[in-house]
Symmetry: C2
Subunit: 595 residues, 2 copies
């Protein structure tokens, strides 16, 4: 397995050149005080070192070792505690956190790069800072001042770690039917009782305390999703002076044996009258969760991307070193028995697919993060409103499309290795196993597609899509005269096609076809994703063309990869459009018994 | 995990109704004596029982347990020895074997169904009868009469097991550079020395002896593939009276830790002056291997299919039982908290994809097996020649397209399970891990695509493709007036498009584009595969339409699944054609250093 190298050059290209984040930061008052180009650069540099030199070397062994459960205690693999400590001491656990409570207040575009590096180095470990950050967002946005003061500083410091407790054995996608109960106490706290499953890092030995955010229902709560509330339930109760008190009635019943991310603990958590405190309003638990979800879902997309980048790096190194057969153009390596396999067109095809998806994924997740930052920091109502719509629209695509394409990317990376790709010591198969979960958790990719097609598109008559397509159209106008001009016509054709398909599905749904949204959703999300990647590639080329003289090799590779994307991957939109327009009748034709 | 049930009803549909194999058998003299409808039916029934009741229950635990290596000895998981014994005693190890040496002489179309069941029940185990059968084919076709008499009866009886030893650490795809040496002895035998890797079931405790077929080179052999010979190297030497003699100098150095098929032993085999006997002519080793390869590669396609069928069965059961959220058409299960997830269009989409691919895959592998049978048993030169061309053309597609679609199918099956799909005890993730190898071994799917596009298409100017398309055209003519008529126009459009694309690639290759074949290969194989599945679905519908009155539920489901395939999957050909026609320039643009 090649050593993972944080792709800093590409990250800087996306941040500084494609999105010119410094200009944006300077325009947003609160960010202008916190971050500038030098700070950002130092953060990238340091994060890259930790990811490449400290965390990545643990990844393979940690997969073999896994976590140990013993009477409710979870022991983490070799080295995890030390990296956790290192990240905590460096302030990384609160990188995007609220400075009022000890966070570093960095914008999401920067946090996204940190996340990609950590996930690229080791997905199992990377879940820990990711979930902590998500829990902090929920607390920061919705908890009382007292709870914030009591919990956030230690969570940002990594002394305590966050966990999200949503799923129950009978309730995954359908959280409306959860059974965990919250009974009010006289002192304003609640007693939480129930069983949660699939709780990532619900228990471990890396932090002094674990702060669970738990969905539960009051005894008299309305049925369904409108009766769900969110509670903060610490593993160890915290005294008024901030010191740790008694152990709360929260216990890890077992950990799961999984396909991948084996070095992370996926816990069954039992709450047996555990003391908890309400976060946000009663029965508004799902809304409080969704604040966090936008960050978390973008984070899961980035997670897939990080691992796919690790796969690419390793596949490239193997393809350069492994010699096997001769180039169709004749021996390139005549003094050796065979040529390096990178000479073969089909090996290149696989590597080019990886590049084309990974780099577009990095640009696209950064683009979504940019809108998250604008929605959070902008004081201009119109800009803020647009940003909120863009976040709502793009989040499910970032989560699902990037993870789908990351699995595809890693499968290609594994294939480059031939038989060695199937052997554990080479590391490629682990990346496939690890990435697979990103398509499933934080809302399956099917659920993301329903969210995009239903709530974010059909329900508002396509308004958000229209706003997004207008962004692309505005870019296309500005791209005339740049190197991206060659892609403007095909991009505009895709935009117009996406608009037609969107309108067709909306019309079908409004016309009374109750299955229209579900039948179109996943193909529609993919269509949307391809158009978005085409947009990203055009944006990257527009910049790369101007800079060719500075670094021909680097920038020409961007233009060539864009050509590959447009000619060899983007045609997928033809198939997807036809599939969507074919409708859902053939899906619903069979009785359940006929399957 | 649902219990695996051998899909006998569907197999009979394909064999008896779609391909009317009985009529074919009656027309082929040697087969007419060996097999008839009743025999075939009894074989299917009995194989189904063994697969479902005896082998399938071992699959999950065997994956956890794996094989143990200890000082060269390999211990198989719990229960494997007993099933191996049961299959041996029942004559299953020689099901397709030559009756002159104790085989049962059954046609490949029937053996294919047996293979699917065994692979569907447990892929790791299923490799053992599969490799034994492959080794027997090589010996039967190429070895001397003495070797055949000495080895085949015990191999058909399962007393001895076969293994294929091709790959070396530095030579996988590129067998021309193998280093294993064969030095002639005075008695006509050879001393074999070298190291082979990735040798499936190269060592185990299920049989009394293991018969290795080893590729090696004589000291004075020509360089490259033309200097490779094939040798039979028994683990234990066999005395002239057929009894076991001394241990040969063959040893298993270690077994691999793998992503999947963990219950099979993937061995490093060390040959240290081991005694071996030439099979076939000197320096004709690759040709001897390729005889076996056509069977083996069809077998690997079937292997993927078997596991994908297991995934489908399990996903359907889960989708019927798991309740979560409400149907978009309103509550279907009003007295429960939610509806079974099979009501959701996107869950159906995943199950329909599995059905559409799996059933077409079964028909297509059976179709290829039919041509294998004709090429072997026909006495009519013209029919035999056509069959040989069809076998050559279709084999790489059966291997690569079925396994690619089987992975896709199993990923959908896993996705139906949501988070539970990632947990080992549910079994779905194992199927994904297991199927993944079928895209890699027996020639990677990229190599299959090169074979199809290069040797089987460009090199003969598209003659085989033309013959195949003529078969489809003849079917289309005959389908008028049947239920398949609705699919004739789209099928003919696909045929014509495939012809155009084929001609375009041939022209490009003949025009001097040395990368034309490699750049088009994988997309072309997929295009070819989709058209072939469209052909299979039309053939199935032509039959199903006539039988609706007999079993409405069963036959209507075929027609509905065909509609799903044509409207929701077949549009992929549009993307693939555009990608192929875009050419390979964008693949080759980057220098190796730019990756």
């Amino acid at each position: 397995m090649a050593d993972y190298q944080a792709p800093l050059r590409d990250m800087r290209f996306v941040l500084n050149e494609v999105f010119k984040v410094n200009e944006l930061w300077a325009s947003l008052p609160r960010l202008a005080e916190t971050v500038d180009a030098d700070t950002a650069d130092a953060i990238l540099e340091e994060a890259g070192k930790i990811a490449s030199a400290t965390l990545a070397p643990l990844n393979r062994e940690a997969d073999e070792q896994g976590c140990d459960w013993n009477e409710g205690e979870v022991t983490t693999p070799h080295g995890f505690k030390e990296v956790y400590q290192l990240l905590s001491e460096g302030g990384w656990m609160g990188l995007g956190g609220n400075p009022e409570y000890g966070g570093m207040g960095m914008p999401k575009v920067l946090v996204a790069q940190f996340e990609e590096m950590i996930q690229g180095a080791c997905m199992s470990f990377g879940l820990s800072p990711m979930l902590n950050a998500g829990a902090c967002v929920s607390i920061d946005y919705h908890a009382s001042e007292a709870l914030k003061q009591k919990y956030l500083p230690n969570m940002y410091a990594g002394t305590w770690a966050g966990a999200m407790d949503l799923t129950e054995p009978h309730a995954g996608t359908d959280l409306g039917i959860i059974r965990t109960k919250a009974e009010p106490n006289a002192d304003g706290s609640y007693n939480i009782t129930g069983t949660k499953i699939f709780i990532t890092w619900g228990e471990h030995d890396m932090a002094e305390n674990i702060i669970h955010l738990v969905l539960a229902k009051l005894p008299d709560a309305p049925a369904g999703p409108k009766g769900i509330s969110l509670f903060l339930v610490p593993k160890v109760l915290v005294n008024d002076d901030g010191s740790l008190g008694e152990r709360n009635h929260v216990a890890c019943g077992s950990i799961e044996k999984k396909m991948g991310i084996k070095a992370s603990a996926t816990c069954v958590m039992n709450f047996d009258g555990a003391k908890g405190w309400l976060v946000g309003e009663l029965n508004q638990g799902l809304a409080c969760m969704f604040t966090m979800m936008n960050y978390e879902r973008v984070g899961v997309g980035i997670q897939g991307l990080g691992a796919a980048e690790a796969s690419y790096q390793s596949a490239v190194e193997y393809a350069r070193e492994r010699i096997q057969s001769r180039s169709p153009a004749g021996a390139q390596n005549p003094d050796k028995a065979a040529d390096p396999i990178i000479v073969h067109p089909d090996v290149r095809r696989m590597l080019m697919i990886q590049r084309a998806y990974n780099e577009a994924g990095r640009a696209f997740s950064t683009y979504a993060a940019l809108w998250l930052d604008i929605s959070k920091y902008s004081d201009e109502p119109e800009q803020k409103a647009l940003a909120e719509n863009m976040v709502a629209l793009l989040t499910p695509v970032v989560k699902a499309f990037i993870t789908d394409k990351s699995l595809e990317s890693a499968i290609h990376g594994q294939q480059v290795f031939g038989g060695h790709g199937f052997i554990r010591e080479w590391g490629q198969e682990q990346l496939v196993r690890d990435i697979r979960i990103t398509q499933i958790y934080e809302g399956t990719n099917g659920i993301q597609a329903m969210d995009l097609m239903g709530r974010k598109t059909v329900m508002n008559g396509g308004e958000f899509v229209q706003q997004y397509l207008n962004e692309i159209r505005a870019f296309a106008d500005s791209a005339k005269g740049t190197a991206a001009e060659q892609f403007v016509a095909p991009l505009m054709q895709e935009v117009s096609n996406l608009q037609d398909v969107t309108e067709a599905v909306i019309a079908r749904a409004k016309g009374g076809d109750r299955f229209a949204v579900g039948a179109a959703a996943v193909d529609y999300l993919h269509l949307f994703g391809y158009v978005s990647y085409a947009y990203m590639w055009a944006k990257m080329v527009a910049v790369a063309g101007d800079k060719l003289a500075e670094d021909q090799s680097f920038y020409q590779a961007k233009i060539d990869t864009a050509k590959f994307f447009y000619s060899r991957l983007l045609p997928q939109t033809r198939a997807l459009s036809a599939q969507i327009l074919a409708g859902g009748d053939s899906l619903m034709a069979l009785d359940a018994a006929q399957f």
